[in-house]
Amino acid sequence: MRAVFPGVARCAAWVLALAAPVVFGQGSTVDEIAKYRAALQDGNPAELWEARGEDLWKKPRGPKSVSLEKCDLGLGAGLVKGAYAQLPKYFADADRVMDLETRLVWCMVQSQGYTEADAARNPFGGPNRKSDMEALVAYVAAEARGVKMNVALNHPKEQEAYRLGEKMFYFRGGPHDFACMTCHGDDNKRIRLQDLPNLTKPEGAQLAYTTWPAYRVSQGELRTFQWRLNDCFRQQRFPELVFASDASIALTMFLARNANGAAFNAPAIKR
């Protein structure tokens, strides 16, 4: 806990430094941002979400007043360690490919007795509106830190989700003709000063996927991969991506599978 706040104070100083009139050239602007990012790594407020998530996981909750400790995230009932690194996957009990968020909703409905609508009601937190889902995801993701990404394509439905996710990645639409590929289909590109990973290549997918969820300094929130996709589509000028929808799971499958082989390293911290 104590480690968290000096880091935040330091990054606030960097934000101020960056907001001051910029007098150096392009190359050094990028260097300064790299320094800012490095400074952020020291003390990640995501720890607060992880701790709250662990409590939520272990606490009896819902109409049936049971904990999630018997929830099967793919490795067996109650096994959390490393589970995030092999999701999404096919679950026979639901006969569906699920990412972590979808699986958590499933467990909240099946074992805790929530309605699906209640379980999925508040997926993304905001000011004065904490999201239990974000906390649970932070906890489960943190338990996979250092584990190699190992997403399987064994079941036909896993293979189908991957193929559909790939199609979705290249799907151009909306008033701006944007697809995921518009920004994430080439090497060494930026929007403004923000580096864009090339998600069509393993190195880019690995770098991106293994660093979500992340604490976003600019938002003061821990953000999940479902949030990341939701906000990409907002900027793509698409309608709103429905939380835990088939398309969100298929696209996650495409990106998570492309990240196979890299060590998972989240929750991370980003600007």
Partner: protein
Amino acid sequence: MQRGHLMLLLGTLPGALGILVGCATAPSDAETSAKATAMLKASFKESGQAKLDRLDQDETQKACSVGAGKAPPKDVVERIEKVNLATIQWPADGKFLGDWKNGEKIAQTGQGMQYSDDPKVPSGANCYACHQLAPAELSYGTIGPSLYQFGKARGYGVDIQKYVYGKVYNAEAYSACSNMPRFGHNRILTEQQIKDVVALLMDSASPVNK
């Protein structure tokens, strides 16, 4: 009569077998595309100004939804450029240059068309998201080429002014499957706004050409 039925049955057999074989192997690219489109429609909800019809692709969007490093066949590329060129509405007064100072403001803002945006506020073009323009702005993206000294390097003639107007109006007319939005065609910018952006690139007094 019976034989007729038998013939009919036999006639449908190869088709039925084809379907069975099709199920056992990977689906065709067209089948996957159709399924992906259906999945998309079921996975989004309308929000603010962003309605579900934004998922209905036009011919250009469909043809350009191809994988990394791929391009449509040459005849399709030619058709996309022809169809899009025909959409350009040239200024009635024949003038292409607006006010580069307004153009700079339009180039700086990315407001517009997101479901979180106020539809009453005019959209920007967000040129700096992808292009270098005026040298004072260091926060520029690199998805598109640098446009610094665009007019100075090419000359300020009317032909080039017209080209820039057309390119901003509908980039697909000049380069099929370009990453650049069709600002005029899709009513992101007004005619006057496009002229202002053209001036940012083509007015000799613009900081882009300093």
